[in-house]
């Protein structure tokens, strides 16, 4: 990797980790800290659609976020599976999968030390484990997992293609990659092509933009006010309230929220670049922008 690219990637990673560390620090002083385990935009069932996952109790915080996890897993059977969640944040999905979907074990990996520390002290240490690391250099052996889960995280990665190669490496043949994120319309097809090139065969694709917009329309303002009252800072962009740039992008459909289910084939990823230069540039711009948008005022 050329030096300039490597130092740019380091800067993006540092920015992302810094934002999440600042967010965790801000939460740490609030009454929501121990309850807040998810940092995703959530999922709302619309027009007679089934609500994904089991019925969740009233006191369960961020039910919409938990439903997004179940929606992304879909009907993939994780019974007895070794599962990896890349970009696990505060560990909500890891805990939820461990509790409800009968895997043998779930590992969460995140860039931010403070998120890993929170998750490690929150979830059952017999069924879950957490580690700090980067998505483009997963600290796990080849074919170590039956399923890799990745939710609303990949757009922040300095190299999407390095991430896809790593997913292909740590998944056993036949294993599942359960993958959801906001994809700017222009990079959507190139990402699907790159996944296919890495031996990650598309088995299911759902555009859940409307479900995510539904969740944000109904919940974001309430979450923003609660967090602002507790922490004294406005976190509108984090909760994706109406008027935030992330919300607008989804509502105007300049980005789509896709939930993908892919299966690891025997095919080995080819050498060389997976993305055309203009696509790689668009992906880099998205990662850079995410760092800027999620900046937390530490004053």
């Amino acid at each position: 990797m050329p030096d300039a690219e490597a130092s740019w990637a380091t800067a993006v990673r540092r920015g992302t980790a810094g934002n999440f560390d600042a967010m965790n620090t801000r939460l740490a002083g609030t009454t929501y800290d121990k309850h807040l385990r998810f940092l995703n935009y959530g999922y709302e069932a619309i027009e007679g659609e089934p609500v994904p996952g089991p019925k969740l109790p009233i006191a369960f915080p961020n039910k919409d976020a938990a439903r997004l996890v179940f929606a992304v897993v879909g009907d993939t059977d994780l019974t007895g599976a070794r599962v990896l969640d890349v970009g696990c944040g505060r560990g909500g999905a890891v805990g939820l999968i461990a509790r409800h979907l009968k895997p043998s074990h779930v590992t969460g990996l995140d860039l931010a030390h403070t998120s890993v520390a929170f998750a490690a002290r929150t979830f059952d240490p017999e069924r879950t484990a957490f580690a700090q690391g980067t998505a483009e250099q997963l600290p796990f052996p080849d074919a170590a997992f039956d399923a890799v889960f990745n939710l609303e995280s990949s757009a922040c990665y300095p190299s999407m293609e390095a991430f896809y190669r790593e997913v292909a490496r740590v998944l056993r043949p036949g294993g599942s990659f359960l993958y959801a994120d906001l994809f700017p319309t222009a990079v959507q097809q190139p990402c699907l092509d790159a996944l296919a090139a890495c031996g990650l065969e598309l088995e299911g694709e759902r555009d859940i933009t409307e479900n995510v917009v539904g969740s944000r329309s109904r919940r974001a303002e309430r979450q923003r006010i609660a967090l602002a009252e507790a922490s004294g800072g406005d976190l509108g962009e984090w909760v994706g309230q109406e008027g935030s740039s992330l919300f607008d992008r989804l509502e105007q459909r300049t980005a789509h929220y896709l939930a993908l289910r892919l299966r690891r084939t025997e095919a080995e990823p080819p050498p060389g670049r997976l993305f055309a230069p203009e696509v790689a540039a668009a992906l880099r711009a998205t990662a850079e922008e995410a760092v800027r948008l999620l900046l937390v005022d530490e004053s």
Binding site: T31, P57, A59, N62, Q223
Partner: protein, 86 residues
């Protein structure tokens, strides 16, 4: 602190719910369902539980809240903690 009776805990909780959820006192009893009867959400419950932890000097784990639906079940949790620390 002397352990409160179930009725005393209910009375305290009723005051909380009237304040947090702006419901009427007679809407709150042991079998009142937080979601169905009071239209509470998890953010409301976090506020109530947080005040309850402070008032009764107990720490309620997230896991204990997993299965509660009614006011009475929250009273059960307080009772369990009081018995433990008595």
């Amino acid at each position: 602190m002397t352990a409160m009776t179930r009725d005393e805990v209910l009375t305290w909780l009723r005051g909380q719910l009237v304040e947090v959820l702006e419901v009427e006192p007679d809407e709150v009893d042991f079998d009142t369902d937080f979601a169905e009867d009071l239209d509470a959400d998890s953010i409301d419950l976090i506020e109530v539980v947080n005040n309850l932890e402070r008032e009764f000097k107990i720490v309620i784990e997230e896991e204990e809240l997993y299965d509660i639906a009614t006011v009475g079940q929250l009273v059960d949790i307080v009772e369990r903690h009081q018995a433990r620390s008595a």
